[in-house]
């Protein structure tokens, strides 16, 4: 099982002044977190594209590029890239460059995103939502598969035998399909034989077992290959020394984050009672290392996922708390999970070149 972290960017609270750091400082904080995650043996760091002041990680590949030079083993990924409002050729070029600089550690998670700030920013229309995503995903997969591309569609200029470089040394990039749990997206990922990444933000995560089954079933309708269906799970989480301490630390930042999103989406701020329920058995993996390890192992029993990564830095979480939680995930949770499930597999999917590609293992020891 691969363990890791993801972030949308966070304006941390300065513990001395009580003020929020700048959006520029938030980028440097993120880089520091990735470097630590690598040092403590975590295998994955994902940056989810967002464009708000509170969640300012708008240029994932730039931060990941900086991290490439300061890290050794950790996989550097988007989680997710809002493909609908970006150019698939540009996305590929950026992540292929990242892949070159990191010696084969780049991954793309393609998705629609959970919010639509990028639509007005880049001049796209929401009513084209479905078409934008379908066409751009198709183009991204084709660019990943072929160095020279011929393509035509309705959402960007046609390509006539155009060369797209750089090409990844390992042939192609792992491209995951990110979804919040829609059955249709699940079937799409399976039929395309792409690895799928579920964002689980509320309720009992074990209910995703049915989706995991659906995904494998859809995969099995495709051609025989040496590739295998792969599932990752991203969800909110935070590790502390004790359950009580973890939850007391995470609660105010979770509250601020959810209240902020709720204001824009029309739901009320969370209540502590519900938070405790979610932290005990729901989507929030907030607690002491033993409990979180057990919950990851249990979810693995239901879904058979091979990677789980936690979003720890909601609105205002002080940077030192983020770093402490990352350290506990790597040094305390990971050994417990490894002891139960064994070390991570030695291959990661190489979805479009017909077979898995070897990579360095991320084993910390």
């Amino acid at each position: 099982m691969q363990l890791g972290v993801y972030s949308f960017g966070n304006q941390a609270t300065d513990p001395v002044t009580g003020e929020l750091v700048s959006t520029a400082q938030a980028q440097r904080d993120l880089l520091e977190a990735i470097v630590l995650a690598d040092q403590v043996g975590l295998e994955f760091f994902g940056i989810g594209e967002h464009h708000t002041e509170e969640m300012p990680a708008s240029a994932a590949s730039v931060i990941l590029g900086a991290a490439a030079g300061q890290t050794k083993r950790i996989r550097l990924a988007s989680a997710v890239t809002v493909l609908s409002t970006d150019d698939p050729v540009r996305v590929f070029q950026q992540f292929a460059t990242l892949d070159a600089l990191s010696n084969g550690r780049a991954e793309i998670t393609a998705g629609r995103g959970s919010s639509v700030e990028s639509y007005p920013l880049f001049g796209y229309k929401l009513e084209d939502y479905d078409r934008l995503y379908a066409e751009k995903l198709e183009l991204l997969l084709r660019v990943n598969e072929h160095a020279t591309v011929t393509w035509s569609g309705t959402v960007r200029a046609a390509l006539d035998d155009e060369l797209v470089v750089p090409r990844p040394d390992r042939g192609s990039l792992p491209i995951w399909l990110g979804t919040g749990g829609s059955p249709n997206s699940t079937v799409r990922a399976g039929q395309l034989q792409l690895p799928v990444s579920y964002g689980i933000i509320g309720g009992d995560p074990a209910r995703f077992k049915a989706l995991a089954d659906l995904y494998r079933r859809a995969w099995a309708t495709g051609p025989e290959t040496t590739r295998q269906p792969l599932i990752s799970v991203g969800n909110p989480g935070f590790i502390g020394e004790t359950n009580r301490e973890a939850r007391d630390t995470f609660w105010p930042t979770w509250y601020r984050g959810m209240a902020d999103i709720g204001r824009r989406r029309g739901f009320a701020p969370p209540v502590r009672e519900h938070f405790e329920i979610e932290a005990e058995g729901g989507a929030l993996f907030v607690g002491e290392p033993e409990q979180i390890a057990n919950r990851i192992i249990r979810l693995h029993g239901a879904m058979g996922h091979s990677r789980q990564f936690l979003q720890m830095d909601f609105l205002g979480l002080p940077q030192r708390e983020l770093l402490r939680s990352i350290e506990l995930l790597g040094t305390k949770v990971k050994p417990l999970v490894d002891a139960e499930l064994g070390p991570e597999p030695e291959v990661v999917p190489n979805p479009l070149d017909g077979g898995p590609a070897p990579v360095e293992t991320g084993a910390a020891s």
Binding site: P183, G203, R265
Partner: protein, 228 residues
């Protein structure tokens, strides 16, 4: 036993289909096109439900549940749903749907816009203010201390009570209220939309939202379960 047609097989549609099946109803689901891709999904996500085209599912049903993305409302054929009791379980998610200006034209609430498009349908706003994963997790037997209250809002009192009975069978207390023009009280942004409340608290919140004059009744579940 109610014959339920669920249009839409996303997260919400499959959850409602499972819940209705568990409550002993006959459930048929439909997507936007052929039945086969839908069957592929439901065999795993909601085993036991029937699958048909939208037209056939509606044809054989007592209640139709709409669980499609609201921007796709225009793709529904009003003729197909004329005269039917239609549960509007949809919401406007501005962060992902945009502003829907054409749909809102002249309407204070989305359920009115739904009713205006579906001319002749007996529209009831219901099952929209509970998260899809609460549909099964929060269901409780009649009389349970922590049974949630859900709202059924309509301009048609008979349709509202039919839907109330159906929602009650899924494991919730139901407050039938109207008219649709007041359904902002259960839309995103309302207190009711956000939280999990008892029927008593829901009725109080409806009153605070100015819908008190239109709260038809708290459905008398005991009476219904006795078949009275």
């Amino acid at each position: 036993m109610t014959r339920v047609a669920v249009l839409g097989v996303g997260k919400v549609g499959t959850a409602i289909a499972r819940a209705a099946l568990a409550a002993g109803h006959e459930v048929t689901v439909a997507g936007s096109g052929d039945a086969e891709p839908v069957r592929f999904i439901t065999e795993i996500m909601a085993p036991g439900v029937g699958v048909a085209t939208a037209h056939d599912a509606v044809e054989g049903s007592d209640i139709v549940v709409l669980s499609i993305p609201l921007p796709k409302l225009a793709s529904l054929d009003p003729e197909m749903l004329a005269g039917r009791i239609v549960v509007d379980a949809m919401n406007h998610w501005e962060p992902t749907d945009g502003a829907l200006p054409a749909l809102f034209d002249g309407h204070a609430t989305t359920s009115e816009a739904v009713a205006a498009h579906l001319v002749g349908a007996r529209v009831v706003k219901a099952l929209n203010h509970i998260g899809y994963h609460g549909m099964e997790a929060d269901a409780r037997g009649f009389g349970a201390d922590d049974r949630r209250g859900l709202v059924a809002v309509s301009d048609d009192a008979v349709a509202a009570n039919e839907v109330a009975e159906f929602v009650a069978s899924l494991g919730f207390d139901v407050i039938a209220a109207g008219p649709l023009s007041r359904s902002a009280a259960v839309e995103p942004g309302s207190t009711i939309f956000a939280g999990s409340f008892s029927a008593v608290d829901v009725a109080r919140l409806l009153g605070e939202a100015g819908a008190h004059a239109h709260v038809a009744q708290k459905v008398d579940l005991a009476e219904q379960f006795d078949g009275a």
